[in-house]
Structures are given as C-alpha cells and as structure tokens.
C-alpha cells in the first residue's frame, strides 16, 4: 500500500506540465485544445488525490513522507547541519486540503473554459490557473516551512498575475486592475515578512524546518487508540478483532520494527500489516512490499502492527519543529534534555546577544505566523487587498480569492496548532482579529452595490470566522467551515460570474436593437457596469438555473438548516460558546460577535438575492439577459449539490433525527476524527441545541428583515438609492458601510503618504541636498569665507530653507550670493567619502580607547 503514496510528486508535476504547455505553445493552440490541456491537468491532480486518499484509508490514516528522487536533498550543507529536503507530507490534513483544492479547481477550470471564451489570452489564463494549482499543492503538501513558503509566495504571484489579467481593458479599467494587482502584491509582501521571520526564528530555535520527521508519531493519543483496537469509531476502515492482540505485540517493539524505525527512508510508516516484515522503504522494494500486502489481505482481515505509539524512540533532534517545541515547553526551569548529538537543549534559547524563554520564542513565532496569515487570508489589518482583487476574472475570484488561496493562512495556523496551543497570548490575538474581521467585513458587505464586492467582503468575514475558530482552539470547526465555505462561496462567485455574463450579454443584445434609434450608444457603453446590482433585478426568470443554485449558495452561507453552512458555522459558534463557558468573559464576546456577524451574513446575502433576482428588471440589459452555456451551469449544479450535502461530512453527535438518519451513511464527526490523526489539539465538540436554535432564529430573522426592506420590488428606489440610504434614519449607517469604514483612506493617510514622503525625503534631501549642498557649501565654502560671516548670517547655512524648499531653490539661492552656480560634485563625493573615513576610524577606535 505504501507505494501508493509515492505518486504524490505527480500532484505537483502534472499541473506544472500543463503550465509549460499552455505557456509556451498556448498561443499556437486553439481554445478547445488549451482548455482541454488545462482541464486534464487539473482533473488528473484530482485522480492523484483519489489515490492518496485511498492510500490513507487503507493504511490506518498513517502519514507518509515522500521524497522527490531528483531533488534529493533540496538545500543541504552538511558541515553546518543545514538540511532542508524537498518532501511532501501525505497526512489527513494535507489530503483534506488537496481534496477540495483539486476538486473545486477542476470545476473552475471547466467553468473558465466557457467564461473566458474569446479572450485573446485564453491559453495564458489556463497556464496561470495550472501554475496556481501547482503552487497551492506545494503549499499544502510541503513537509517543511520553506516549501510552505515557496507555495505561499507562488500562489501570491499567480494571484498577482491573475488579478491584473485584464490590464489592457479600455477606459481606465485596465489601470484600475493593475493597481489592484499591485495592492495585493504589496499587502502580501508585508504578510510575507511575517512568514519569513517566523521561519527564521523556527530554524534558529529548532535547527530544522521539517514539520515532522520520518517515523515521528503525530498524535500519540490516536496511536494508542489504534493500538488498543478501534480508533474513534470511524466508518468501516477501523481495524477489527485482530487489531488488539497484534497491537499489543507491536507495543513490545520487536527487533524488526526497531530496524524500521532507524531507517531514515522516505515514508513515515508507523503501522504495517500483520504479516509484514520490517518495512523497507527503498523504492525498489516498494512493489514487493505491496504484493505482500495483497497476499496478507487475501488471507483474511489483518490488523495493524503499531511500531510506536509515541515519540520516545526518537531523540530531540530527530523530531520535527512541533514535537521539539512541545518537549522544550514541558521542561522545567534549568532542566535540559539531550539533543541526541551530544549537546543539550534547555528552555532558554540563545540569540547571540540575549536569551529568550521558549514560551516567548513560541509566542513570537506564532505572532509572526499570524502576520503572514493576515496577509494571505485577508484579515485586519491587511485585508484591504482582497475586495480590490475582484478586478480579476470571476473564475479567479472563485478559485483563488474565495475557495483556496485565502484559506492558506488558516491552514498554516491549523498545521501549527501545537505552537498556537502553547502560546495563549497569540491565540488571544488571533481570536480578536478573527472576530473583528468577521464583524467589520460583514458590516461593510451590507452597503456595497458591486455584486462581487459583496461576495468579497463576505469572504473576508467568513475567513474571520475561521480565524476566530483557530483562536479558540476549534481547529476541526475551522477546517470544516473552510471546506463548506469553499463549496458555497465558489458556487456564489461562479453564479455571480454567470449573472455578469448574462447581463453583459443582455446589454449587447439591447444595444444592437437600439442601434438604429440612438446615435450616442458609444457613451452608453462606457458607463454601463454589468457588475452593479442597481442595473439588475428580476433575473429569476431569465436565468433559472443560476437563480436556483445561487439561492442554495445563499442559504448555505446564511447558515440555514440543513445546508452545509449551518453545520460548519454552528460548530464554530458552539465551540466558541463552550470556550466562553470554560474561559470566562472574553470568549463570551467572541461568541456574541460571531452571532452578530452570522446575522449580518444572512442579511446582506438576502439583500443581494432581492436586488439581483427578485422584483422586476431595472435596465434594458437585465431585461435581455439570458442563461449561460452548459460548461458554466454544470459546475454550478455540482457545487449546489455539495453546498446542500457538504455539511453531513461532520455530523455532530446527539442530533437525533435532524440529520435524516444520515449518520448511518456518513458517520458522526467523520471529518474531525479523520483530521485528528494530523491535528494533535483538535477537540471533537458536542452538539449544542440552544446555539443551533439561536443562530437559526437569527438567520431567519435577518432574512425576513431583508425581505421586508428590499422585497416586493423595493430593492432600489426610483432615484437609484438603496432603501436604507433613502431613509434618513438609517442613512449614516449605510453611508459608513458603503464607504467601507474608510479603511483605504486611513491607510493612505497612515502609511502610503508618509512612506512616499520618506522615500522622497531620503532621496532628495538626505542623500543629495545634505551631502551636496550642506556639506559642500556650508562646510567647505563657508569655511573659506570666514566664520564671522557664518555667525552673522546663520540662515545662510541653508539648512532650514533647504529642508523646506528642496534642493533646487537652495542651490540657486546660495549660489546667487556666492557666485557658485554649480557645486563641484566630484569633490562633494570626495568630501562625503572623507567624512565616511573619519566616521569609520572613530567608530572602530572607540572600543580600543575604552578598553
């Protein structure tokens, strides 16, 4: 079985191949062929995923670490112990991520083949999409922080390229698009700074970047459960009768198994089938081993042999960063432990000039990780780029800016759950940021008119939910919401793309009809915005499939029973509520904030439904809109089904008949249990009926409220105003929301302007004026002209004036009086050099003089 995991590198290689083909030969291929290659590459990653999934299921969910043979020892300098291999980790968490990335990715590729029809850079688009998939899969499957960072930067790059994809659009739109791309890039760079610092700190502290080492046990608790014969009651694959005695046998760790443990081969195999001898992880023997498995399987039901149930067989330096952190944090004051290479490690980490306690270091690492996550997962304070990123084509918004890339930050934090678990302060900050983001983005979404901007702010808000869940330690709920959100938010984005497409189509249609009557159609074409919800209305009848699927997506996002969003959002709410009961007041604010955010979600989504689909058409274009082609609607239908059923992946226990008895099919807490093999600190929370009822009531109330305000064709009044805007009482609330809480303006004031000023100041005043004018004219020239003149006319020094008026005027002004029209620049450089010489000598002599 384990040889199955060896195909993991393919999951990166295949989309890379697609990228290369479409990038270099794409312009020569026709659309059909380009899209075929793109879709095939993407679909084949999904097939690879299926294999990996079955590998895990058939192997008692035990992780594998897969080396890529040709990149053996990716970065390696043995003399200083620097070793960063190119390894992929196949465990339940990474396979979960790969699952929805490849699946949603494939659907979006299919959708894009229709959506991008007629674009001059059709092949390029698919090249970028495939490249994105490759980097995303590097991100989620990398077994060390550096690979994670490579993927992290790579998806950022693809996002940058795809947001600015339509840079050449006419009428200034192209410029806006490229600005949005740049904003995304810069905001992400700030986040990347956090990631890099976290990586450096981790490497300094632990001497490795590997998340897990071969033969390391991720979750001892689950291993013991497996060894004692039965795991957590998972569906079917759990080892049966034989497991107990074989497991006991395994715990004695026979010599053969010891050998396997010492083996530093590629797969982190901890469990093997009963008849198996020491596992040989060399590639040559892989097949033979697989045959052995086949034979033993045919002999009857065999349980696993557990080699190790915890990490006592590994020395400190043989562990990955998470296990090392836990061991260090458990140490008492002054205690040390053997590294395994003769040296010892203690609580205090030495940073050259100073020492820090391991707790402080972990807090720093996690805070830096959080900074990275706020960039990639669009949280306060770095979220401003995501709404602007909607300038990209809609499939991009759906794939990158809703379903996959933006969840990378949450994934990273879930992956590092061991660290966050140890750092209470960081978890607190994570929670606050998550709740604030969920609330403020939900509020802003209320006042937007652009159909995609509403969804963008909604995404930011939902990511806030996930981050808050990570903060309160509900890692399972965060992952669960990530998956369901990927389904219904991708559905909503693709639906909005279909709407935009339809309206645009309708606009062209209307346009042709009226061509004879109006001479100034050109002007009309410039101002019409197919994304503005004020130009829509009544699309229910024109686009029935889009409407039906969009409605399902909306109800799922609003958290209505029994749609997917209900289950996942409820789990977050319930877990944060439980945390509130356990931890006291502050977490209570968390649960309350999330309740409000959930109600806001239902409100703005129903407002959107009323504005777009209900009522009567408000423009010619909406009147003439038509349903989209099949390649666009089929993915919608598939995603709608998943939005409906996705919640049953993780049915909570104690829910009774409300799950339609589907526990029998899906099992209870399936996802949480499955993830628990990789996420140590995951806790399976119980169902909270009260929470479910309150959240359901809130959502329904919000929908009814939205229906009262926007329903019955009142969505936009005759003056083109939102009803909330028209009503003086609610106008300030709406205006603040419509202005996006002035975040961008505040940033402009706070950062961008001072930054530009600083750069200009350094360039013009410090580097040039200071050395050129001040030193030359004041020190040398004035020195020649006597100190008396200097004292009598101090302002002639030009410092004050130079700082205010800049170099040009200063030069002229001084030179006017001194007949020095042009400063001798070479000599000024020489003066600067001499000053540098004196400074260096003085600085180096100082310690000698003191000593």
């Amino acid at each position: 079985m384990q040889s199955l995991a060896l195909i993991a590198p393919l999951i990166i290689l295949l989309p890379s191949l697609g990228t290369i083909i479409n990038f270099f030969w794409g312009p020569k291929l026709n659309e059909r062929f380009s899209s075929l290659i793109g879709i095939t590459a993407s679909a084949s990653t999904f097939v690879v995923w299926l294999v990996l999934f079955s590998y895990l299921n058939g192997n008692y969910y035990q992780p594998a670490i897969v080396d890529l043979p040709i990149l053996d020892g990716w970065i390696r300098i043995p003399s200083v112990g620097l070793e960063i291999p190119w390894q992929q980790r196949i465990d339940t968490l990474s396979v979960t991520m790969m699952g929805f990335v490849t699946f949603v990715g494939t659907l979006i590729h299919i959708y894009a083949s229709g959506y991008m029809h007629g674009d001059p850079r059709y092949a390029r688009f698919f090249a970028y999409l495939n490249m994105f998939l490759a980097f995303m899969l590097i991100l989620v499957s990398g077994n060390n922080l550096l690979m994670l960072f490579v993927g992290w930067e790579g998806v950022g790059l693809c996002s940058y390229l795809l947001v600015g994809f339509w840079f050449d659009k006419k009428h200034g739109v192209g410029l806006k698009n490229s600005n949005a791309a740049r904003k995304a890039f810069v905001a992400n760079r700030i986040g990347d700074f956090g990631m890099l610092m976290a990586i450096f700190l981790a490497f300094w502290t632990f001497g490795t970047l590997d998340l897990y080492k071969p033969t390391e046990v991720t979750n001892p608790h689950m291993m013991e459960a497996l060894a004692s014969g039965g795991g957590h009651g998972e569906e079917g694959a759990a080892p049966a009768n034989g497991a107990a005695e074989e497991g006991g046998h395994g715990e004695e760790a026979p010599a053969g198994e010891e050998g396997a443990g010492d083996h530093t081969g590629s797969a982190a195999q901890l469990v093997s089938l009963a008849s198996d001898l020491p596992i040989d992880q060399e590639g040559d023997h892989g097949e033979a081993a697989a045959e052995d498995h086949g034979e033993s399987a045919s002999e009857g039901h065999a349980g696993p042999v557990i080699a190790y149930t915890d990490n006592t067989h590994l020395t400190f330096s043989q562990l990955g960063i998470f296990a090392q952190a836990e061991r260090l944090a458990q140490l008492g004051e002054g205690e040390t432990l053997e590294r395994g290479d003769g040296t010892t490690a203690g609580r205090m980490i030495n940073f050259g000039a100073f020492e820090l306690d391991i707790d402080t270091v972990i807090t720093l690492i996690t805070l830096f990780m959080l900074l990275g996550a706020t960039g990639k997962s669009a949280q306060i304070p770095l979220f401003v780029w995501l709404p602007d990123a909607m300038a990209g084509p809609t499939p991009v918004s759906a794939l990158i800016h809703a379903a996959t890339m933006v969840t990378a930050g949450v994934y990273m934090m879930v992956r590092a759950n061991s660290l966050f678990h140890l750092a209470e302060f960081s978890s607190l900050v994570v929670t606050i940021i998550g709740v604030l983001t969920a609330l403020s983005a939900g509020y802003v979404a209320m006042g937007q008119f652009d159909i995609k901007k509403v969804l963008a702010y909604s995404t930011v808000s939902q990511l806030g939910f996930m981050v808050a869940a990570v903060g309160v330690g509900a890692y399972g709920a965060a992952m669960f919401h990530m998956i369901t959100h990927a389904f219904f938010k991708a559905l909503l984005f693709l639906g909005s793309g279909s709407v935009i497409h339809g309206v645009e189509h309708g606009h062209h249609h209307a346009h042709e009809h009226k061509h004879d009557d109006h001479g100034h159609d050109e002007h009309h074409a410039e101002t019409f915005d197919p994304q503005d919800m004020r130009n829509m209305g009544g699309l229910r009848r024109k686009m029935p499939i889009t409407y039906a699927t969009y409605l399902i997506g909306t109800l799922a996002l609003a958290g209505l029973y029994p749609f997917a969003g209900f289950w996942s959002k409820d789990e977050i709410l319930a877990d944060s509520w439980v945390a509130a009961i356990q931890d006291g007041k502050f977490a209570g604010f968390v649960a309350l904030g999330l309740f409000v955010a959930a109600a806001l979600t239902a409100f703005y989504m129903w407002r959107q439904i009323e504005m777009v689909f209900h009522g009567s058409p408000r423009t010619e274009a909406a009147e003439q809109a038509s349903e989209s082609v099949w390649s666009m609607t089929v993915p919608l239908v598939i995603l709608a089904v998943l939005s409906l059923l996705g919640g049953f992946l993780n049915i909570p226990s104690g829910i009774g008949l409300f799950s339609f008895g589907l526990q029998g099919v899906f099992g209870e807490h399936t996802l949480s249990t499955w993830l628990e093999y990789s996420v140590v600190h995951l806790h399976v929370g119980a169902f909270q009926p009260l929470i479910a009822i309150v959240s359901l009531v809130l959502a329904v109330a919000a929908i009814i409220l939205a229906n009262r305000i926007y329903g019955s064709n009142k969505a936009i009044n005759s003056e083109g105003l939102d009803p909330l805007e028209a009503n003086p009482a609610s106008r300030p609330i709406f205006a603040l929301s419509n202005a996006r809480l002035y975040w961008d303006e505040i940033y402009g004031r706070l950062f961008i302007t001072p930054f530009n000023r600083t750069a200009a100041f350094l360039a013009n005043v410090v580097d040039m004026a200071f050395l050129h004018d001040y030193f030359h004219d004041s020190v040398i020239t004035k020195g020649f002209n006597g100190i008396g003149r200097l004292l009598s006319h101090p302002i002639d020094l030009g410092i004050i004036d130079g700082a205010v008026n800049g170099i040009g005027r200063l030069t002229r002004w001084i030179s006017g009086g001194l007949r020095r029209t042009q400063a001798g620049y070479v000599r000024v450089y020489a003066v600067a050099l001499l000053i540098g010489v004196v400074a260096v000598i003085v600085f180096m002599l100082l310690p000698v003089l003191q000593g």
Binding site: L71, G73, W74, I75, I77, P78, S79, V80, L82, L146, V150, E153, G154, L157, L161, G164, F167, D168, G174, L175, S178, A181, R182, F185, R189, I190, F193, L196, M197, F200, F203, W204, N350, F351, G352, A353, T758, A759, L762, A763, N764, D767, L771, Y825, V826, Y829, A830, A832, L833, I835, G836, V837, V840, I841, F843, M844, L845, P847, V848, G851
Partner: protein, 501 residues
C-alpha cells in the same frame, strides 16, 4: 632571505588568473595584427580565453595551496570566486559585441581591458598578501576607469570615467595607507603572519593596536568604496548611468566580486582576533554592521524615487552590497565565519546572474545614442517582446527575493548566517528592506505587463544579447530551484582553516 626556486613558486595553481592576465597581452597583439575586416574576431578570442580560464579553474578546484612565496592562495574560495568572475566576464562579452558596434565604439582593446579587469578580480580572490590585494585592486579598477569612459565623444561617458577615476584613486590611497599601517604594526604583509602576530599585540596592549585598528578601518573604506556601500556609495549612480551599459553591467558585478573577496579574506583570515576590551567579536564587526544597515536603508529607499533604470539598478546594487555586507558582519564570529563566507559566495553568484540579466534587458531597449533607459520605456514590453519581458520579470522577482529564484536562495543563506551569528536586529532590517525593495522592482513589472502603451521594439535585442539573457535566466532559475548545485561547490570553502581559534 632564501631565493625561492621555480618549483616553490607553484605556478600551476595560479594558472587560471595568470593565463587570463597574460592572455590579454596576446589579445592586444592579435587585435593589432588582425586584418581590419577580421577585427570582429577579437571578441571571440576573448571569449575563448575566458572559457580556457574557466576550465583551468575547474581543474584546480578544491585544492588548497599557496603559491608565489605565500602571496597567492588557491582554495575553494578562490575557485568559486573565479568561476563567478569568469561567468560575469563571458556574459559581458556577449553583451558588448553588438552594443559596441551599434554605438560606433567597436575597438578591440575593450576586450583586453575587460579581461584584465576580470583577472584583477580573480587575483583579489586569491590574494594572501596585502601587496597583492592592492595591486589586484588596481588591476581591477584601472581598466574599469578606461571602460567607463570608453564611448568616444560622449560627454556622459567621459564624465562617468572621470568621476570614477578621481574617487577611485582617492579611495585606493586610503586602502594603501591602511595596508602600510598594518605592515607597520605587524612587520609583515602576509595575511597568515599578520594573524599570527596579532594575538601578541592585543595581549600586550601596545600602541601598535592603534595602527592595526586604523589600518583595518582604512582597508574597510577602500574596499567599501569598490563594492559601493554607504557612505562610500556616492559615485555609484552617476558612474553607472554614464558608463556604456555593458561596462555598467560588468562593473556592478566584477567590482563587487573582487571587493568582497578581498574584504572577506583580509578581515576573516588576517584580522579575526583584532579585539578590544572584554569582547570576543573583532572591533570591525560593529562598523560593518552599521555600514550594512545604512547601506540597506539608503539603497532600498532611494531606489524608489529613481526614474532611470540604470540609476535604479545602481541604487539596487548598493542595496545588494548591503545584503552581502550582512554576511561579512556575520563572518566576524569565528563559529559562523565559514558559513557566512559561503552565504556571501552564493549571494554573489545569484546576484551575478540576476543583475547581468537585468542589465542585458536594459541594454536591449536602450537606443543607440544612450537614451531610452527610462523606467517608462518598459511600458508594454510584454506585448512587443514577451520573452524578454518574462525574463525581466523573473530577474526583478529574483532581485526582490521571491522563492524559486536565485535571489531568494542568496537571501536565505545570508539571513541564516546573520541569524546564526546572533545579529538579529540586522537580519530584521534585511528582511524589512527587502520588503521595501518590492516597491521599485514590481514597478518595472507593472510597467511591462500591466500598463497601457505600445511596447519598445527593443532594437538592441540581437541574438547575442538574447543569449546573454537566456544564460542569466537559466542561471537565475537553476540556482533558485536547485540551490544544491551551488552549495555543493561552496562546501569546502573555509577562510579559517589554517589557524584554529
């Protein structure tokens, strides 16, 4: 004093550099005797010479020997630096051939000068004696002065040469004065012998330590000028802008190779125990740290407000000197010295490929009269020259330090070395300024890909220039994806091998 026999000179290991230096003389003769219609072959002879020297370096690689009575050392450090310098020279030759022709300056002595300068950089990397450091520095610099002023009847080029000459000569006077002081304090110019005699001077606390410290300071100044670190950077933008573009390209790389090689050699091999008071770190560490921090800040910030690509790359090269300077600061700690030296080597290699590539593209869009090097001239390049634009984008990403490009590999090792030496504040400044650098590098990409406008037809993108671009491009990506190719070569590099601390 014994007169060394011919065998003692151990000429074999000096061959790569000596061959190149002698070859230039032959090249001058060849150029003079070639019939006029065959003069274009000179460049190809030069390229052949570079290749021969490259092969000779490979044959010698990994040895660890001294030659020429201990003045010359051939070890892995020398070998790696030689490879980098020769790669730079080869790419520069490819860039120069058509450029000189179209600007009307196709004269054969250019290649002799280029090779002499390269030989100077190689001698600097193998210098084991302060005399050799000085002579090699001048061998590197004097041809560069001439090359900077190589464009006839071009006021900017002449001005560039003159400024470079005056300031360069001025700064090398400081270097040689510093060497004299160190000689005065220790009575020797050999780096190992200096190392051996320093301990006694420091312990005795004699006044000779003043000579030593001032001498070290002046050597830092002289070499700091060559590699363009703040506050000795003022000449860089002016000279880079005025010099012919291939010369700028070579200058931005070659001078740094030689300068950093000598800086590491002198500071780490000869002066690691130049301590004062109770500290363990040598007195020059703090100075280098502050210089590195200033360089990073000034270089990266000032680059933002530049509008000419050559000036922008000049400030960018100042900033990159700052990153390598971080490695030099890290080399002050005897325990991390070797790793820091290796990281500097890898950074130099990465920087060589990337920066030469960027200059190659700038050269391709430059007009014959030297105009067309504004950042605005990159607008729309993705449409007119998609391949060049894609390559430029990769170079810019590499200079920013995005993963899977050479620039990231270099930064990764340098930051690692800095952290290992415990210079956390410096590492933070390095990471922060590299975030800032994204602003001006990405502006080029935005202009190429995301701005409206007709692209430049890139008249200078002749097949040879394209080849230079491809080579740089391949190097940038290869080093980014397979860093092990370079790290394997640096495995045996050690500057402290001769004396244990």
């Amino acid at each position: 004093m014994d007169i060394p026999s011919f065998a003692d000179l151990n000429l074999g290991v000096t061959l790569p550099a000596v061959f190149l230096a002698l070859g230039t003389t032959v090249l001058l003769l060849i150029d003079a005797f070639l019939p006029k219609e065959r003069r274009h072959l000179t460049a190809w002879f030069a390229l052949a010479g570079v290749l021969v020297s490259f092969v000779l370096t490979l044959f010698n690689f990994g040895s660890s020997e001294t030659a020429l009575a201990g003045m010359f050392v051939a070890d892995s450090f020398t070998g790696f630096m030689n490879l980098v310098a020769l790669t730079a020279a080869a790419i520069t030759i490819l860039l120069s051939i058509d450029y000189l022709k179209r600007t009307g300056n196709a004269r054969g002595e250019f290649y002799s000068l280029l090779l002499l300068s390269t030989a100077g950089a190689m001698f600097m990397a193998s210098a084991n004696d302060l005399i050799v450091v000085f002579v090699a520095l001048e061998l590197l610099s004097i041809p560069l002065y001439i090359m900077a002023a190589f464009r006839l009847n071009n006021a900017k080029s002449e001005e560039s040469g003159m400024k470079y000459f005056i300031l360069g000569a001025f700064s090398s006077a400081f270097l040689v004065y510093g060497s004299a002081l160190i000689y005065g304090a220790t009575g020797t110019t050999n780096l190992q012998e200096i190392l051996a005699s320093i301990g006694g001077i420091v312990e005795a606390g004699s006044s000779a330590i003043f000579y030593l410290v001032i001498g070290a300071a002046l050597i830092v100044v002289g070499l700091g000028f060559k590699v363009a670190v703040v506050p000795f950077h003022m000449w860089t933008p002016d000279v880079y802008e005025g010099a012919p573009t291939p010369v700028t390209a070579f200058m931005s790389v070659g001078a740094k190779i030689g300068g950093f090689a000598a800086l590491l050699r002198v500071l780490v091999t000869a002066l690691p125990f130049l301590v004062a008071g109770q500290t363990v770190e040598p007195v020059w560490q703090n100075t280098i740290m502050i210089v590195a921090a200033l360089t990073l800040i000034v270089g990266n910030f000032v680059a933002i407000s530049q509008s000419n690509i050559k000036r922008m790359l000049a400030y960018s090269s100042i900033a990159h000197a700052g990153y390598i300077m971080m490695a030099v600061a890290a080399a002050a700690n005897p325990f991390t010295a070797d790793f820091a030296a290796r990281s500097a080597l890898i950074y130099l290699l990465a920087y060589t490929f990337t920066n030469l590539g960027a200059f190659a593209i700038a050269l391709a869009i430059e007009k014959d009269d030297g105009s067309g090097t504004d950042i605005k001239d990159f607008v729309g390049l993705a449409r007119s020259k998609p391949v060049l634009a894609a390559a430029m984008a990769v170079f810019m990403f590499s200079l920013t330090g995005i993963p899977l490009t050479a620039g990231f590999t270099g930064k990764w090792f340098v930051f690692q070395a800095t952290m290992q030496a415990g210079l956390v504040p410096l590492a933070v400044i390095g990471v922060l300024t590299s975030v800032v650098s994204a602003f001006y590098y990405v502006r080029i990409i935005v202009n190429m890909y995301l701005s409206d406008g007709e692209g430049d037809e890139a008249a200078g993108a002749t097949p040879l220039v394209n080849w230079a671009v491809y080579i740089s491009f391949a190097g940038t990506l290869l080093l980014g994806v397979f860093p092990i190719l370079a790290t394997n070569l640096t495995e045996t590099v050690t500057l402290l091998a001769s004396v244990a601390p």
